[in-house]
Symmetry: C2
Amino acid sequence: MSSSTGLTFADTPSLLVDLDKMEANLKEMADVAADAGVALRPHVKTHKSPELARLQLEYGAAGITVAKIGEAEVMADAGITDIRIAYPIVGQAKLGRLGRLLRSADVSVSLDSAEVAEGLSNLGQRMSRRIPILLKVNTGLDRVGSLPGQESLRLAEQIGALPGIELVGLLTHEGHALRSRSREEAKERAVRAGEAIVQTAELLRGSGFNIREVSVGSTPTPRDNAHVSGVTEIRPGTYIFNDLNEMTIGVATEATVALTVLATVVSIPADDRAIIDAGSKTLSSDGLVPAPDSGFGYIRGHPDIRIDHLTEEHGILALDAARDRLKIGQQLEIIPNHVCPVVNLADVMYGMRQGRLEREIAVLARGKNR
Amino acid sequence: MSSSTGLTFADTPSLLVDLDKMEANLKEMADVAADAGVALRPHVKTHKSPELARLQLEYGAAGITVAKIGEAEVMADAGITDIRIAYPIVGQAKLGRLGRLLRSADVSVSLDSAEVAEGLSNLGQRMSRRIPILLKVNTGLDRVGSLPGQESLRLAEQIGALPGIELVGLLTHEGHALRSRSREEAKERAVRAGEAIVQTAELLRGSGFNIREVSVGSTPTPRDNAHVSGVTEIRPGTYIFNDLNEMTIGVATEATVALTVLATVVSIPADDRAIIDAGSKTLSSDGLVPAPDSGFGYIRGHPDIRIDHLTEEHGILALDAARDRLKIGQQLEIIPNHVCPVVNLADVMYGMRQGRLEREIAVLARGKNR
């Protein structure tokens, strides 16, 4: 079996997806959502594949989340119609694209400023409709978002009366859970984020806003905060594949990691060093969030071999007795630190079933950073 | 003017190439090579564009350098026929592709082991030809390569008699010059690398090897080591665009940087923080080599605003009085730390002439990590 380029999956570096494990991950998270009685709206930035987004919907997802309009365009082109863009839409170019997208899909967007709300309000008025919006609330990640409580209420009051938009909910991304030093701390942060956004929703409702959706997101947290009373939706992304970040924080194990990078040893120039053909163009330069400076991935079966540093096309392994332990041409299977940017660097993933290639999965929304 | 996707270059994040500056950079490096009497063989990994590779040839380059066969395939498809693959070719899949490539292009390859030489020897014998090879010499980067002197001679003796290949030269990549703490140290490393490989070439010649090519590479070094007597070729890459690495080490200035990332402020959630739409999916996660921990790029006109950290779609700026100094929708022009992975993350670059879009430049060899 070979791809359109004449390569086989045995050429490296390649992304291998264990389809059985991936499907188990999809089922498990669908069960988490069902048990908690909340909607599951996966962030598709992890896989960037309409095929896998459809599979998530088949496994019970209510819709999908994307970061950028370009990702939404790819998903809408593939017939996916319930899309949340968890990103502030800024500028006429993007508003024009959102307008076109709204003709074929149900799209809601998040924002944290009156400026962004006004742009959407103008678009909604021109289209004679009300674009559903969610306020982004900063529950501790300190990236975008208004603070829980009064600051979010003030923003709601500023934008709540604007025509052309409808404030339907609140949304947070508690990605700071991954920066925790322990599973317990991550759990505490998840619960606290859920409680903060639920309390803010209640505050806004008390001021007359019809807040119907209270959405939390990130992979390590749903098991901890989907049950927080008042949360209506979870938006995990990485769970479909898992990665070393999730293993380190304790919500995945080597057995539940569904995507690995196959690489080949191409040089053993010294006895304390070997070189693989997967560098930062394959593994990305992302460090491990819960444990920075711990290298660039985990080599299955070789826990003591450190992926010490990367250049674009070289992964530099640090180990003792390299010439005894490895040989040129040997293939190694790597669990990456952070799977999302790894997928973004690939054009295709190889879907494997019990060690055999079942199908290729195109990364159609790769590179859609606009 | 708009691209096939309906975007204009005013949508962000976008890569803008100042064509006048780029052409000046191409001319300057061609002059460096001509002055030193050496061949210029640019590494095209920086731009990944056949159009720009052809321009380099028009400006006097003798041929091109690539890292992976996939890059060579794209360049050969575009009619470029003199290609050096500065990477060990390992495995039947890649040897098969190299065989097809050799039918349409003059390809030489570098290696640092008998194992890789034997694979190439078998291919050359099957094709009834001798594949030109260069030994990769480690002059201090400590990545691939045999050590200068006796270790390289021993490898030459191991592989020199193999049929199907012909040892034509030595090659080094003195990328460790960029890790220097000063321009002076970088210069010293460059000269030392040049001298080490020239001495190794002389050692091999003394043992009967016909070493015709002595090739050095990396952008900060040619001005320092192209003149080292015995060097025959330079292989700079980044010089076409330059970046913050090259500025920091002192071989480029803001005025000679030809590629910038245009980004938009999408959120100012606090007075000490603003968010731009260029994250690690645009700028890559590469730190600054000569000064790690100094952030993720330089914002033109705002030297005191730090690009503090990145997530995939967010650049988090640290600054005082953010709400006074920036506004949502404002565009910022960023000089990236390391331009090569930034280009690899893009599908297109926008070629600008005096502030106006002249043409789009497709990144056709993007993502070719095999």
